[in-house]
């Protein structure tokens, strides 16, 4: 019965081909440092899932953002868990992505033919930092507010275009309702979409070139 269903689906979807194409490739000899990319992907998915669930109760308006987060923490069953995972997962993701980047750098895995993988990876790191920066404002507590005041001020000291960057980031001259709603939009739509696309490209390049073997003493 299950066998028949599987065969029916496989003839149409091609599980076996997909498996061969996506997963069945030679790996260099086991090394835990090589698992950091998968760990980053796992964290990205985890952040996506918990983030989607947080939007059920979160409200991106200065009047309600703080209260809605308090409600998630104290009023909703397991709200503390969902937000806790999102909160700590965010910190962990920045850390894991950065260590992943260091691993690639020190094992010189960015060299030919993997330059593009490295470039897309660098973009992924910056996007991850962007997620951290925009997400930090959303609880709208004192720390979030002032961190955003300082963070956007840093953009404001760029020579020449500084004031423009500042206003573009804040949606005006002040950190306001406009800042909160545009950070929310960037945090849940723009950056995740860009991240997902870039991750797809990153994974495609890894499948195409395989993972780099660690250099041995003889190399």
């Amino acid at each position: 019965m299950w066998k028949k269903i599987y065969i029916w689906l496989d003839e149409r979807l091609g599980f076996d081909d997909m498996y061969k194409m996506l997963l069945d490739r030679p790996e260099p000899h086991g090394n835990w440092w090589n698992t950091l990319g998968s760990a980053s992907l796992f964290l990205f998915i985890m952040q996506g899932v918990t983030g989607i669930f947080l939007t059920v109760y979160y409200t991106p308006s200065p009047d309600h953002a703080y209260d809605s987060v308090q409600y998630i923490m104290n009023g909703v069953a397991f709200g503390w868990l969902i937000r806790g995972i999102h909160h700590w997962g965010a910190t962990l993701m920045v850390l894991v992505v950065f260590i992943h980047m260091l691993r690639v750098f020190f094992s010189a895995s960015y060299k030919y033919p993997r330059e593009l993988t490295w470039m897309v990876g660098s973009l992924l790191f910056l996007l991850t930092l962007g997620m951290g920066f925009t997400g930090y404002l959303l609880p709208f507590n004192q720390r979030a507010y002032w961190a955003t005041v300082v963070g956007t001020n840093i953009g404001g000291v760029v020579p020449g275009v500084g004031p423009f960057i500042l206003k573009a980031l804040r949606g005006g001259t002040d950190v306001s309702a406009l800042t909160l709603s545009r950070f929310f939009s960037i945090h849940i739509w723009m950056l995740p979409a860009t991240l997902a696309g870039s991750i797809g490209l990153h994974l495609y390049l890894i499948m195409r070139h395989g993972e780099s073997a660690h250099p041995t003493l003889d190399d």
Partner: protein
């Protein structure tokens, strides 16, 4: 002997499936609880709402009254309005009706010339005592429990 040993590949498969299932259940149950939590909360409460001295409600004609109740929903306070009619038949004998139509919850109003309540949504009519005359309502208008202390009339508001 060899048949009792699990191959490395099978071990990895089983371990991955087991850990994956544990993680799915460990996350799935809290997530379901998180999503349906508002549906599991019961909000109930009753309160005596003072409607003022009896002389405000003349004998014979239904006199409208209204009051508001606030409710905390999540992080926000919601204020709902309620209303009804007091029908005094004698000094102490009275009926307090809710103005919520028993069909789909629209607010009925009193037609002085016809001596009927009319519902604006589907044109149902009720007698002054709340009995259905025509239209789709399945039952008479709901009554409020009331008490009279001295000269002051209060009704019992029930929620939940």
């Amino acid at each position: 002997m060899a048949s009792n040993r699990i191959s490395r590949r099978d071990f990895v498969k089983v371990t991955t499936a087991a850990l994956g299932s544990i993680m799915t259940v460990a996350m799935g149950i809290p997530v379901i609880g998180y999503l349906i939590d508002p549906a599991l909360k019961t909000e109930s409460g009753e309160a005596w709402i003072p409607l003022g001295p009896l002389e405000n409600f003349p004998i014979g004609t239904p006199t409208p009254f209204s009051f508001t109740r606030s409710n905390i929903n999540g992080w926000e306070k919601t204020v709902n309005s309620y209303g009804g009619f007091v029908i005094r038949e004698s000094d102490t004998d009275l009926v307090v009706l809710s103005s919520v139509c028993t069909h789909l919850g629209c607010t009925v109003y009193w037609l002085e010339d016809k001596q009927q309540y009319e519902c604006p949504c589907h044109g149902a009519h009720f007698t002054a005592e709340g009995e259905v005359i025509d239209g789709p309502p399945p039952r008479p208008l709901d009554e409020f429990e009331y008490r009279i202390e001295g000269d002051a009339l209060s009704i019992l508001f029930k929620k939940g």
